[in-house]
Subunit: 203 residues, 2 copies
DNA sequence: TAGGATACCTACCCATGAGTATGATAGACC
DNA sequence: GGTCTATCATACTCATGGGTAGGTATCCTA
């Protein structure tokens, strides 16, 4: 039921999906849907919760691990990425508070905030235990979550990479950053266009 | 006009904003709005284009610069971040193809793809000229764009940081990555919880 | 000062889609 | 064989909101 809703929201967006569409996918009629749920927004909410629970679970899991915070963070990010690439990713990421009643909206916000705080905490711990380079935990958490959330916007099942592979690739990028490291083969090219800067950088 | 629409979409989302709302903000009535635009979706489209043009401009600008590709990329990312933090950020980022007619949807997709390709190209060039650490250009571009796009979801004008400041913070994060670098003071703590790993990492 | 263009209004139409009233079928249990 | 409950359908109601028909006031120009 909620899975059918998730798949349909995925395809056409929340507002462009009618309950008749969802009913049609299940090969029943609209009143049957209302036999199981009380409203369309409840459907969206359930989809959201289903997806988000996986991430919350991962946050709880890593508490028990005796690992540097960066590795615990990576584990959470991997689960996060897979969750966003799942059929509930769309709902998790795109469930706007505008689409929900104030009560449910508060609930959604609370869950999102909890995850955000977990990530920030892991970053802070990582800075303390030396496994993460000092940075602004808030901005960094936003950057990480944003990159992963965005997966829901471009990823579709038929893609060549699995959710896990994407998550892994992202973790690698986050860890390393773009700047070349000493001791890594980087083609050692003599920076072709980099002779000088005749114009100032905009901004 | 399109600015008013953008602000209203920002507040309540596209589908939850009626043309009466937009008209009310301008202190006119709905037919007046239709005097200037032909449809609601055209309004969304115009907002989108307005925001995206800034980024396209930045992509063109940096072509002229004689700088390592990483610096040119950073310049684009800064403009990108500021654009997303602007009043048109919401429309740029959230304009779903589901909400637009096939023709406009194609147009939107083409513009988005153009920017995506520009970023990938800069990454490839950076890897070649040695200013960017070897990585998967496609995934990296997705990660960068995702992190920046996500700004539109959480940033609101009254925030303490300006769009430029956020963009700058993000560029720093992307460049450095999370891993601590040799020679940087990182509290040099003896990785407190990191004695051993009694449990396997999930996944 | 007539004619037209610009900018705006009041009052409507109508398709869509969320949600419901009411009743049918089919198995379970007595 | 009756009735009770779970499951589902037909056939509605009704608010919302995109879009339009047709008219008016202002102002510019000839």
């Amino acid at each position: 039921m909620i899975r059918a809703a998730a798949l349909e929201f995925n395809r056409k967006g929340y507002h462009n999906t009618s309950l008749d569409d969802i009913a049609a996918r299940l090969e029943v009629t609209k009143p049957t849907v209302y036999y199981y749920v009380t409203s369309k927004e409840q459907l969206l909410f359930e989809c959201f919760v289903t997806g988000v629970e996986r991430i919350r679970g991962a946050c709880r899991e890593v508490r028990r691990l005796e690992l540097p915070a960066r590795e615990r963070l990576n584990a959470v990010l991997r689960q996060y990425g897979e969750a966003v690439a799942s059929e509930f990713g769309w709902c998790m990421v795109r469930a706007e508070q505008d689409d929900l009643s104030p009560a449910m909206s508060r609930h959604v916000k609370a869950l999102k905030s909890e995850i955000d705080q977990s990530i920030r905490r892991l970053i802070r711990e990582g800075i303390q235990d030396g496994s993460i380079h000092p940075c602004d935990p808030k901005m960094t958490a936003f950057a990480l979550a944003g990159a992963l959330n965005w997966i829901a916007h471009w990823y579709r099942e038929d893609q060549s990479m699995s959710g896990a592979q994407i998550a892994e690739a992202f973790v690698t990028i986050f860890e390393a950053g773009l700047r070349p490291r000493a001791g890594t083969p980087t083609e050692a090219a003599p920076r072709r266009r980099a002779r000088r800067a005749p114009t100032a950088l905009p901004r």
